[in-house]
């Protein structure tokens, strides 16, 4: 699968933004297996871009294509199956079910299209240091713990593109690195791509392309 972006610009941005940006207003083609790093200061439209790429918002000009699927014209069912089989995401605002346990939150995602057996949940949680939190309600976990749950959740499914929107905003360096290691392993196992949007460059992400938004 490949991701093609053509002349993309949020409708609420001035046209002049495309002159300074390496992404807005440009034609880009990202193939499976590439590691894309997008560096952007606050307010430059990072979350908007990730939301556009995940088909969550449509307030943009230009178009986004996953192979033959034009996201703007994809119906609800096809979009659901794209998300289930080809695109995974870690949201900046985490988006967990607060009244479900960590285990339940992960299982809800895993059962949709199981890439891993159930036992893998505990193994990954252990690796990121939240093994003991599996039976706890998500709302009782700290932001850092919730962020790790969101990361593991994104790895429960098969994907060609993994979209990351400031995935380490609540994690210290050591935990960030551990999480990144896990994501890289999982992505390589799928021969997939990561599109990683963050405020600054992170040393432990071996990108193949770097863009300034």
């Amino acid at each position: 699968m490949q991701l093609a972006i053509s002349k993309l610009l949020p409708t609420y941005f001035e046209k002049s933004r495309s002159e300074t940006s390496e992404i807005w207003g440009k034609d880009l083609l990202w193939k499976k297996g590439e590691m894309i790093k997008i560096v952007a200061p606050s307010g430059s439209g990072k979350s908007s871009l990730i939301n556009f790429l995940y088909g969550m918002r449509k307030d943009y000009e230009g178009n986004i294509r996953y192979d033959q699927h034009d996201l703007d014209k994809t119906d609800a069912e096809s979009l659901a199956s794209l998300r289930k089989d080809h695109i995974s995401i870690v949201f900046q605002d985490l988006r967990l079910f607060p009244h479900q346990t960590v285990q339940e939150n992960l299982e809800i995602k895993r059962q949709l299209n199981p890439y891993h057996p159930k036992e893998k949940i505990a193994e990954m949680a252990e690796r990121l240091g939240i093994g003991k939190k599996l039976p706890s309600l998500a709302r009782t976990c700290s932001y850092g713990e919730q962020q790790r749950v969101a990361i593991i959740r994104a790895l429960m499914q098969p994907f060609d593109f993994l979209l990351l929107d400031e995935p380490f905003s609540h994690l210290d360096n050591r935990n960030s690195e551990l999480a990144m290691q896990l994501m890289l392993e999982e992505t390589r196992a799928r021969q997939a791509s990561i599109v990683f949007a963050d405020l600054e460059r992170i040393e432990f992400f071996p990108f193949t392309s770097l863009y300034h938004l």
């Binding site: 969550m56 609800a76 069912e77 659901a80 199956s81 794209l82 998300r83 289930k84 988006r95 079910f97 009244h99 479900q100 339940e104 299982e107 809800i108 995602k109 059962q111 949709l112 299209n113 199981p114 499914q157």
Partner: protein, 399 residues
């Protein structure tokens, strides 16, 4: 591996506003009960009244006259059936056949000869043979014969036996009456002729003295005034004397008919009207309950909006999700409708057993159409529910 709904179910806040939920269940139950009971009673009435009419070869025969009012008194034309009236009657889909009762157009007197000192003015009429309930093969006449076969109304014969003792006349049995020849004198146009009449049958249907048609045509020509003879009374042959269309037609033309035979039909019209009204009311209650239930569903979905939206974001199919969410309520609908069917069954059994004393034309078991309607109602509820949930979820997805 199929996706399980089990971990999703707790995300729906169905326990909220349970009063509205229970009201809608109760409403649905009452509506369905009213509707099913009305249908069953409608069928009961049909079955009861089918047995109540006097029939021959699957047809009812009833006599119709024009109502004589103060305005039409003295103008026989207005009280007799014209050819146009007869044609109009024949054209009605619920009337299979029409036969006028043609009267005599001359003076007729009846005497018992030497057997009884009895003499009276009388009338003769004729009717098409296939409208007569008791038609013996001897009911035939040919020109030149002096014997005329008669079919006498059973009612007239009974009346004779009632007044005979007061007049000093003997009461007689049917068999004797059929053995006694009577003298029938026809007079007119300055001619008089005596015939020998013999009763060959008694009719329960026709209140008249019937003679073979060719005799009356011949005698009207010979003794009559020469004018066209029109009938004041006609017989119609119909599939159902209690049919509402027939009664409505008769009423609209201001005809009067044999009330005994159509009394059931008139009651049927009223009772069926009442049960139709009740059925429609039941249907309205069902619709109201479904609306109330849809409000409850909208509330459930609004309260569970965040969870449902997140499920869609994670890649759950809106179609799968809406099917699963609406399927949650299928057991509720099925339980409510089945409970209503059971209560209807109990009511039908009680009606048959305690009110109708197990009459054979009714059944203690519900009619199949009631069960079909119940099944259709479950389908209707499930369908409307599914549509609603799906549209709400797609709306969530697009937000």
């Amino acid at each position: 591996m199929a996706v399980s709904f089990k971990p999703i179910k707790p995300l729906l806040q169905t326990g909220t506003n349970s009063a509205s939920r229970w009201f809608s269940y109760a409403g649905l139950g009452i509506g369905v009960l009213l509707l099913l009971c009305s249908i069953q009673m409608f069928i009961n009435i049909q079955r009861l009244l089918k047995e109540g009419s006097i029939r021959k070869d699957g047809f009812d025969y009833i006599s119709i006259t024009k109502s004589v009012t103060n305005e039409t008194m003295g103008t026989p034309d207005k009280n007799q059936f014209s050819d146009k009236d007869l044609a109009e009657l024949r054209a009605q889909p619920f009337i299979t056949g029409v036969s006028p009762l043609l009267p005599n157009d001359f003076r007729v007197t009846l005497g018992a000869g030497s057997v009884l000192a009895f003499n009276t003015d009388m009338f003769l009429e004729t009717l098409d043979d296939d409208f007569i309930d008791t038609l013996p093969p001897t009911f035939k006449w040919q020109e030149g014969e002096t014997n005329i076969p008669l079919i006498l109304s059973s009612d007239f014969f009974e009346i004779y036996n009632v007044f005979a003792p007061g007049q000093g006349l003997p009461q007689i049995s049917r068999e004797t009456a059929m053995g006694i020849p009577v003298q029938i004198t026809c007079e007119g146009n300055g001619v008089s002729e005596v015939f020998i009449g013999k009763i060959v049958a008694f009719s329960d249907r026709v209140n008249s003295v019937l003679v073979p048609k060719n005799f009356l045509v011949w005698s009207n020509r010979k003794f009559g005034k020469g004018q066209e003879v029109k009938a004041s009374r006609i017989f119609v042959k119909t599939k159902d004397a209690n049919s509402t269309e027939l009664l409505q037609f008769v009423d609209s033309k201001k005809y009067s008919l044999n009330k005994d035979k159509t009394l059931l039909g008139r009651n049927k019209m009223v009772i069926q009207g009442i049960f139709s009204g009740l059925g429609i009311f039941g249907l309205l209650v069902v619709l109201l309950a479904l609306m109330l239930f849809s409000f409850y569903l909208q509330l459930v979905i609004a309260r569970s909006k965040d969870s449902l939206q997140l499920l869609l974001t994670l890649g759950y199919s809106p179609r799968w999700l809406s099917t699963k969410v609406s399927a949650l309520f299928i057991p509720v609908y099925a339980t409510v409708v089945i409970a209503a069917v059971l209560v209807t069954q109990l009511m039908q059994w009680s009606f048959h057993h305690f009110v109708m004393y197990d009459r054979p034309e009714l059944s203690s078991v519900l009619h199949w159409s009631v069960l079909c309607v119940a099944f259709l109602l479950i389908l209707l509820s499930v369908f409307t529910n599914n549509r609603l949930v799906r549209s709400l979820l797609y709306k969530l997805h697009n937000n």
